[in-house]
Point group: C2
């Protein structure tokens, strides 16, 4: 492999960052290809071997909505879930949680909306009504001792509503924490955020008593801003960042092939800053190159393209 | 056009940034296509119409080395150079300066190396010997009242030497300023820099008495780091940033299609931060889409792809 980045630290940044790998779920869910379950299992195993300690493996969504993940149970049966400290599965609703409990999972994630329109479109209920549904899911998950992540989508803009107010996002975030979510993931689902917006939202959230340890950030690179936004979150104390190996997964709500922040691009930055991730970049790049061959589409990650050329 | 970015400022950042547009020179120099001179002239005019106030138009390099820019004199004859405040031309050596003076140009740029190996390969002389050549060029340019920019290439890494010491870059930078350059452009020619490295270099340079107003930054997006690095430079007071419309120009020293930071991606971030650029993003995107058609290659800019889809 070519050289790793030159290391120069910036004062005040965390010494370690947890990368929350979303490639197998958020990535594959938004790719056209239907990937065989054995390949998915290999993908997850390779990600864990490359040092990723949290890998979201699939979603217990109805196969009608996401045919790419119709093999969720089969994938869970194929995998040894003890290989990584945390291997969450998305549970969109009570039925999804039933399936997670049936499989004896320890970690789940719910997917809430920060906006009225996206709640209607994605959950078929109002912004307010989503809380009743999630309240039941989260409390039951916690009764069973599960760790629960709450995604908040459309935090920085919505394709139908445009601007989304910071106060509204903070309100949704607090309601999810109040109902018992262990961690939130603040999502820039359409990739429009810029660093000042990230700073303003985190300031407001932390001013209201939420701690930086409860918050992850989930940036999309649709407008090329994901890494600058991640750096901004790091400066404000956030230590969990979502990303997708190879940049897998287009943006479902913009006419662009570019969606999730690529894990390799994030790792390059973090390692250059002297921040520990536990990730073996060379092994991760090889995994993304291999996965790109499986789905028949070149990786969008800049680092993968630079290092694998 | 779709929505502009939501605006949230970050304290301490400049209120205005000068974008130094390098697409017609650095961009087209590194694209395989040979573009007709009339198209180049249209490209420059469209960039200026879109609000770019500094556009580097071409290079008076020997056509044997850069056939893409063999029409430099013709392009200058075709253009009205009074349409923008500054329209520099690269002059690689004394002969290049002769050509610039013949054409009555007001603004020129020289291209120095921060490393021994690149000086040998690009200039065919030692790191030290480059100064003698540039000294003569710069002093003659200044006698004629020209504004002179000094590029410093390979500031953050070199494909042959690997790490480049900050002390060495600072030394080269100071020698160029001492010989009379009005502005330096610190180049991450292979795109490997991360934000801590940018901060460390700028700190060291400013600690030695160079002012932020004398320094521009030139980042490549080969590893996806360009915008995070630009944000870091802004935080340290830099107010001139180089970029290339549409991300035109691959990286000549890495096996990657991605080179220059795209002007649109930079403008999205700056406008999101409430920083004035004078650029009409919609007109700029249209220009890059049009230019991509001329060279028969899709734009690499994330913003162009998101907005023009």
């Amino acid at each position: 492999m070519k050289r790793p980045p030159h290391v120069e630290q910036i004062g005040g940044l965390p010494s370690k960052v947890s990368i929350y790998e979303v490639g197998p779920r958020d990535g594959l869910q938004n790719e056209a290809a239907i990937v065989p379950v054995e390949i998915k299992a290999d993908f997850v195993r390779r990600l864990v071997s490359a040092g990723l300690r949290t890998v979201e493996v699939t979603s217990f969504v109805h196969p009608r909505w996401v045919p790419q993940l119709a093999d969720a149970e089969q994938l869970i049966d194929t995998l040894d879930l003890s290989i990584a400290p945390r291997m969450p599965v998305l549970v969109p609703n009570a039925r999804g949680l039933d399936r997670a409990l049936d499989k004896g999972l320890r970690d789940v994630a719910i997917f809430a909306s920060a906006t009225e329109t996206f709640a209607q479109r994605n959950l078929n209920r109002s912004l307010d009504d989503q809380f009743a549904m999630f309240e039941a899911v989260v409390s039951r998950a916690r009764e069973h001792g599960l760790w629960v992540r709450g995604y908040v989508s459309m935090c920085f803009g919505d394709p139908w509503e445009g601007d989304v107010s910071i106060a509204q996002v903070v309100n949704v975030a607090k309601r999810l924490l109040d109902m018992g979510c262990d961690e939130l993931s603040l999502g820039d689902t359409i990739g429009v955020a810029t660093p000042g917006h990230v700073e303003a939202l985190l300031h407001e959230l932390f001013a209201g008593g939420t701690s930086s340890g409860q918050v992850a950030v989930h940036f999309h690179d649709t407008y090329g801003q994901a890494l600058a936004n991640a750096l901004t979150a790091l400066r404000l104390g956030v230590t969990t960042i979502d990303s997708s190996a190879g940049g897998l997964g287009g943006c479902p709500y913009a006419e662009s092939a570019t969606g999730n922040l690529a894990t390799e691009d994030l790792v390059w930055q973090l390692h250059g800053l002297g921040i520990e991730t536990g990730v073996d970049l060379e092994a991760l790049v090889a995994t993304s190159v291999w996965m790109a061959e499986q789905i028949g589409k070149p990786p969008v990650s800049r680092v993968v393209n630079a290092l694998a050329g």
